[in-house]
Point group: C2
């Protein structure tokens, strides 16, 4: 299997790359080539080939797919905070980059790769029902969510027309994100656990009753691999799926932190309400009924205790075999 | 009020232009300029200024809005059949043309016109509930519907960000379309009434139990004018609205034709099933619960008898004052 990952230097892309490199196969088939594309250099990884290029630059997409990868993981994107502060950059990367990729694939005669696209629950906006069903309206309230929703539409259309075998995954809020904070407004969901687990202070800009829909990086990589290998005929015409997740409040996150690392860790969280972040977070969905994804075999984390354990295993322990 | 209509040579655009030229005002305010833009020359109309240009050609949109129209009716578009047979043309006009217009508006400092966009119920795809509610998923099964759905998303985002005061109208199947058949696969819904009312034969490619969601051209023009003048603050953040319509079967259309023009007219309809059209029509929604639009004051036709009367008044009678 020839595999291409766009956004391979990003959080999800790099974790996926590491997992594929460690596994050496996908869906039981050996990986014969692994190309890691990003606008910044991805980490070196065994035999994987790094390709530093901008997917939103015309002609790059055609070059990237010239060797006809069997599976493309399209993870490249500008995060929510940056897409909001720099509208043109956000649309350029999140919409035009995706469209250039889809059009490059369309122009290759007889080529129809599996394309797994990382969409987001940011395609939804309030008012919300108690739990969001699979046929709920796409009505984003960020430019990030808008470009994701637009790309989803094109992915479905190009799949329907037989140019690509697309699967869009509306990822939950990823928690615990490893590494440093990025420009995503949702960053605090991770930092209030990550920093205290490492003995450092963190800032909580919202109240403890804020509820969100979470998946660990490990679960997200699992979604991507499952989407790459499942029988796509079972998906039907609606090619974009709400991923399963864990619905929890910030208070429940903190309770899990207390169980894992004690009261001293919890005391490292400083409450500093930020009205701008509170407004954004209020517009995010917090609970789903992801019936289609569950029926297709996607599986979420069971609890925040499990999410914290996975973070400790994957990020805080000495490097070991991928799990 | 300065008014710009794109797609002004099209069916809805030209009817809207004629109505505005006849009225001389909109929402009680006198019309000081009326620009009719289309890629083919719109009919000459009083003091209206014709502008023959391609909205999908970069720089045209900036030129079109240079005099800062107060209201823009964005009706330009490639119809469903053509967007399906010529993918690149469809996306170029229906998506890129709209985006160029939105971006030209965004780049004019301090300018925020009302923009009324003709979207379509083709943004929806099966499986459908019995009646489609206002929060039903956008899942089109045509490239036409896809580009409309994508434009809707951008219209909402640009409105949220304060660049434009956008209102998208998901128009029902327009019936009875005047004039000659176009490339819309939905053309027969009109021709099975229009041709027999004029003593000519028509072809029915689907069965009589096919149900659709209709609005007359007169009702559609009414929707556009209402959208141009209503208090847009009442719309909320979801700026695209399912328009009210008349849910009827082809059999009910034919019964209304019989009441209006007798059995001889009905006998002019030739049944010639066309599997390709039947498949497309099966993927179109047939009944809505357009609660938001009704609450905002949009009004549909009451019956097919009324639709036929409006057609006879507007198309078959000697020209008179606009109604």
């Amino acid at each position: 299997m020839k595999i291409l990952i766009t956004g391979a230097a990003g959080m999800i892309g790099s974790k996926l790359a590491a997992r594929l490199a460690a596994d050496g196969h996908v869906g039981g088939k050996p990986i014969t080539s692994l190309t890691l594309s990003d606008v910044i250099a991805p980490s070196a990884l065994g035999a994987a080939r790094a390709d530093v290029s901008d997917i939103a630059e015309p002609s790059q997409a055609a070059r990237l797919i010239a060797d006809r990868p069997d599976i493309i993981f399209h993870c490249a994107g500008v995060v929510s905070g940056e897409a909001e502060s720099d509208l043109e950059k956000g649309y350029r990367v999140n919409l035009d980059g995706s469209r250039l990729l889809l059009d490059a694939i369309r122009r290759e005669p007889g080529y129809c790769p599996r394309l797994v696209f990382t969409s987001s629950i940011a395609v939804f906006g309030p008012p919300f029902p108690e739990r969001i069903a699979d046929d709920f309206i796409l009505a984003p309230l960020t430019s990030y969510g808008t470009a994701k929703a637009m790309t989803e539409q094109m992915l479905s259309d190009y799949t329907r027309r037989g140019f690509v075998d697309g699967v869009g995954l509306r990822l939950p809020t990823i928690c615990i994100r490893p590494g440093k904070p990025n420009k995503a407004a949702s960053g605090f969901f991770s930092s209030i656990l990550r920093e205290p687990l490492a003995g450092q202070e963190a800032v909580l800009p919202v109240s403890e009753d804020v509820r969100a829909w979470y998946a660990s990086p490990r679960a997200a990589v699992g979604f991507l691999l499952h989407a790459a290998t499942l029988d796509s005929a079972a998906i039907g015409v609606r090619r974009n799926l709400n991923m399963p997740g864990l619905s929890a409040t910030v208070g429940e996150q903190i309770a899990a932190l207390r169980r894992a690392a004690g009261e001293a860790a919890v005391r490292l969280i400083r409450h500093e309400p930020d009205p701008a972040i509170m407004r954004m977070v209020d517009s995010w969905p917090s609970a789903f009924d992801p019936a289609r994804a569950l029926a297709l075999g996607f599986r979420a984390d069971a609890s925040f205790d499990e999410i914290i354990r996975a973070h400790r295993d994957d990020e805080l322990a000495t490097p070991g075999p991928s799990s």
